[in-house]
Each structure stands twice: as C-alpha cells, then as structure tokens.
Symmetry: C2
Subunit: 89 residues, 2 copies
C-alpha cells in the first residue's frame, strides 16, 4: 500500500529563530501591525510504500528522526494518510 506522509518540522521552544525574528521585525516597517510570535518551519512531503499504516508510520518516524530533522533543535509532527491500496499486494 502507498501512504502519503507530511513531516511538519518546527524549531524546539527556546531555540533561536532568526528567520522568524527578521520577519517579525520588518513587518511594522511594511505597515503590518499586531503580528507577533513569528516562527518559520519546514515541511517535507513524500509517499512511502508499506504493508500497512503502522509500518508506514514506523518507517517514516525512523527516517524523520535519523535524517530529515535534527532532533536536538527540531520537533517533527507526522501526518500519514492512505493514498491507494497497492496493486499486486
């Protein structure tokens, strides 16, 4: 079966976010008021082949932790959805 995976990556609380801080600082200059707590994150989307949702979740979590994020400074949320039942399985 094929699953679509969304990895939503954010900096952990307390980790400096220079991109967010820059956006927040420049917004009033551009005329946007009342905006605060700007943070910038990253998403990685992909499809994965797995026998079931549990296996897809496990494989995606392992990949995310070991390769797609830096767990020291980043948190990741995984969202997994079934795309299609596999053809020959």
């Amino acid at each position: 079966m094929q699953f679509s995976v969304l990895v939503d990556i954010r900096l952990r609380g307390g980790i400096s976010d220079p991109a967010g801080a820059t956006i927040e600082r420049v917004l009033p200059v551009l005329g946007y008021e009342g905006i605060a707590d700007v943070t910038v994150g990253k998403t990685i989307r992909f499809t994965i082949d797995a026998v079931d949702a549990e296996a897809a979740q496990a494989a995606a979590a392992e990949l995310t932790e070991s390769f797609l994020t830096n767990p020291v400074i980043e948190d990741a949320d995984l969202t997994i959805e079934t795309v299609s039942p596999g053809a020959g399985t």
Copy 2:
C-alpha cells in the same frame, strides 16, 4: 481578539524542487526504499490581532500574498484559529 495563523507554503506543481529531488535521490543510498514524490515546503506561524476571524483571515491572506510567498512559484494554505478573546474589546 487574537488569532494564530499557520501559512503552509508549497512550490506550485511543475516548479523544480531541488531540495526534494536531492533527498529523494540520496534515500536509497542510505537504505530507505519505496519513498517517492519528495517535496520540501515552508511553514510560517504567527499570531495576529484582529476584530474577528474574517478580518484576521483577510489580513493574513494579504500579508501572505504580498510578502511571505512568491505567488509566481508558490501556493499557500492558511489555517486560522482563535487563540483568545481580546482583553479590552
């Protein structure tokens, strides 16, 4: 009132995604099989003060289109949630 906004930014279909392509190419080398269609996107989260959800939506959409994204190559989805009713309003 205060609203939390999530801007989920993705490259439009057909726009080259070198970061996603690089991840996809290297995964088999690292031992991850069965992963395809890797795309990399960006999220921007912030809080915004507005009189109601409609005003927050409009302000966030305007900001997103004019400053946070490049509409020529990027699509953005907005998710807006109420954080708290304003104190003095």
